[in-house]
């Protein structure tokens, strides 16, 4: 169902054309695999360097080669990055940023997906006068540079008493997630036959009952895609975190940047790389667990954008 309903092309993006080849070694294959392997090295190199550096002690880093595996493996940099690294303001390590990010992430993901899926649902099955106009503005909103809206939102949040709080940031993520997610859900829902919706209305189900009892259970794949998009997007956010929260509530990315780029003290590259890896762990986890859904998610969110 997910394939047919994500507006993916005739062949799904995760499935090759025709049968697999027979001959292994030919000039053509050497060219193809050679190029792919060279590029793969380029993509893998930073991950390798991050892991290796984070497992070395500083003396070994100073003497050695950043690509070389550690002679003596140490997890000290990880511990330090997590609990002791200094940002210039405090020396709690990344753990504070991690928990801040978790606290921002969970409500933001839930709220943004609920709002956007209801939007997509209303725009598909309950069109009202002007609903298409709102949708068009919303899609354009996906392309407006955030910088244009940064300050007006500061004012709005201040008026609401949310400026600097986690909830303010949650609201911001909900608003800025709205265009792409609404599009995603609308595109998905519009592949659901309208007769199903009509049948539910004849059966006496109202707006919310149809959403919760009919649509949601049959749209789980798109909800998963949306969760993947939002978890990675919100976890990786930097700008909104800096602008809309106080330093003690900074999300992990902001703290990471403050730790690594802080000008005070001696640079501990191993700790820096451990911190960088730690920050990348959540999205990487999502990426490796979700596999093809991640691909579908970005293709669905983007190709139609």
């Amino acid at each position: 169902m997910a394939d047919a309903t994500l507006n993916t092309p005739a062949r799904s993006i995760t499935e090759a054309r025709g049968t697999k080849p027979k001959r292994a070694l030919s000039g053509r294959n050497i060219m193809i695999y050679g190029t792919l392997i060279v590029f793969s090295l380029y993509y893998l190199l930073p991950l390798w360097v991050m892991v290796m550096t984070s497992l070395k002690g500083m003396p070994e880093i100073r003497m050695g080669n950043i690509f070389a595996p550690p002679v003596e493996i140490t997890f000290e940099p990880w511990v330090k990055a997590w609990s002791q690294a200094c940002t210039g303001l405090n020396c709690d390590g990344l753990s504070r940023g991690f928990w801040n990010s978790v606290q921002i992430l969970i409500p933001s993901v839930i709220l943004s997906i609920v709002v956007a899926s209801v939007n997509g649902y209303a725009l598909t099955f309950w069109k009202f006068k002007g609903s298409d106009i709102f949708f068009t503005i919303l899609i354009f909103g996906a392309f407006i540079p955030y910088q244009v809206m940064l300050y007006p939102i500061v004012i709005l949040l201040r008026e609401m008493g949310l400026y600097g709080s986690l909830w303010g940031l949650v609201l911001v993520h909900t608003i800025f997630g709205m265009p792409i997610l609404t599009l995603l859900f609308r595109n998905y829902f519009s592949t659901i036959p309208e007769e199903l919706f009509k049948a539910a209305r004849v059966d006496g189900a109202g707006f919310w009952a149809i959403y919760a009892k009919i649509l949601m259970p049959m749209s789980l794949p798109i909800f998963v895609v949306a969760i993947i998009l939002q978890v990675t997007g919100i976890w990786n956010d930097f700008l909104f975190g800096v602008v809309y929260t106080r330093p003690d509530l900074y999300p992990m990315t902001v703290q990471l940047n403050n730790i690594v780029n802080s000008v005070q003290g001696v640079k501990e590259y191993n700790v820096n790389m451990a911190a960088t890896l730690l920050t990348g762990l959540v999205p990487l986890f999502i990426y490796f667990v979700s596999g093809k859904l991640f691909v579908r998610g970005i293709a669905a969110g983007a190709v139609k954008g």
Binding site: A10, I13, T14, E15, A16, T19, K20, L36, F39, S40, Y43, L45, P46, V49, M50, R62, I66, V118, N119, Y121, L123, W126, F128, F134, I137, L138, F140, G141, F143, I144, P145, Q147, V148, M149, Y151, P152, L156, T174, I175, M178, F207, N236, D237, F238, L239, V243, L256, N257, N261, Y269, T276, T279, G280, P283, L284, Y287, G291, V295, I298, A299
Partner: protein, 296 residues
């Protein structure tokens, strides 16, 4: 039985109530916020927004600022290189991936994982790899080539290429996926027909498949371009705009004037310019995409 027609405003009330967040977001934030900023870019707001009309003063000052000029130049250079290379590499990789290869899933996983990472992580790891004392430069020197110099992050002439290496690392996998989706979306009968006609594969790509992928190219260009204009996190993490002002970008200018230099007017004017550049990209695209038909 004189049942009256109910007020249409109250029909499907639940649906309308559910749409309130969307309506508020579009009207207040996307539309209202944008207009507010554009209007206030014509005022001399400093620490706080004030409604003191000064015409194009902020824009005059903006275009007299070396830092802004450098930012714009950087964006143009970085942007065009990034567009060309990400589409070029993305397409190359997509075509290679479309050759019925083994381990396609593995290759895709490797190419796409950077896209899951934040620009901060990307910037920091490449800052480390390009570190002159420990990174690539020192390793090549260690191999015996003592005079080898590769220190882009501290060379104003090269710093953009340092950013580019990191930016491409993060984003080409994504472009590859879009291109691959485009290639796979083309009717397989086209391939059968060209095989029957004895047309070589490269010719089929060049003359038939790529022209059919025009919409995918356009969409990709728009998405990549819109992302480039917003470029901020990567620069903050990798170079902080340095050395000097050599890697400044407009988004950084906006942030600094709005939240650090307490010169809101400049920030508003600069962000309005960013909006303008997005519109320059967006309007022709919207025209191409939706111009012909009424409904998008």
């Amino acid at each position: 039985m004189a049942l009256r027609r109910p007020n249409p405003l109250f029909r499907n009330l639940a649906a309308k109530a559910a749409a309130v967040p969307m309506i508020l977001a579009t009207l207040v934030v996307f539309l209202g916020g944008t207009i507010w900023t554009v209007v206030h870019s014509f005022t001399n707001s400093r620490l706080l927004p004030r409604f003191n009309w000064v015409g194009f003063d902020q824009y005059d000052r903006l275009w007299e600022s070396t830092r802004w000029i450098v930012s714009i130049q950087n964006l143009m250079i970085y942007g065009s290189l990034s567009l060309v290379f990400s589409v070029g590499i993305g397409l190359l990789l997509a075509i290679l991936m479309d050759q019925k290869i083994r381990y396609e899933d593995t290759f895709r996983t490797i190419m796409l994982y950077p896209f899951a990472l934040s620009f901060i992580v990307t910037g920091l790891v490449w800052q480390w790899i390009l570190n002159p004392d420990f990174g690539i430069q020192s390793i090549v020197r260690g191999l015996g080539w003592e005079s080898f110099t590769f220190n882009p992050l501290h060379d104003p002439q090269l710093v953009l290429y340092g950013l580019l290496i990191a930016g491409l690392w993060q984003g080409t996998g994504f472009v590859m996926c879009l291109m691959l989706a485009g290639l796979r979306g083309i009717d397989e009968d086209i391939w059968k027909a060209s095989r029957v006609d004895g047309i070589p594969a490269w010719k089929t790509y060049l003359l038939i498949v790529l022209p059919m992928m025009r919409p995918v190219f356009i969409t990709t260009l728009v998405i990549v371009a819109a992302g480039i204009i917003k470029l901020y996190d990567l620069v903050v993490a990798q170079t902080s705009g340095g050395p000097g002002n050599a890697s400044q970008v407009p988004a950084m200018y906006v942030y600094d004037y709005m939240f650090q230099a307490q010169n809101l007017g400049q920030g508003f004017a600069a962000s309005t310019m960013m909006l303008l550049s997005v519109l320059i990209v967006l309007i022709p695209w919207a025209y191409l995409e939706f111009g012909g038909r009424k409904h998008g």
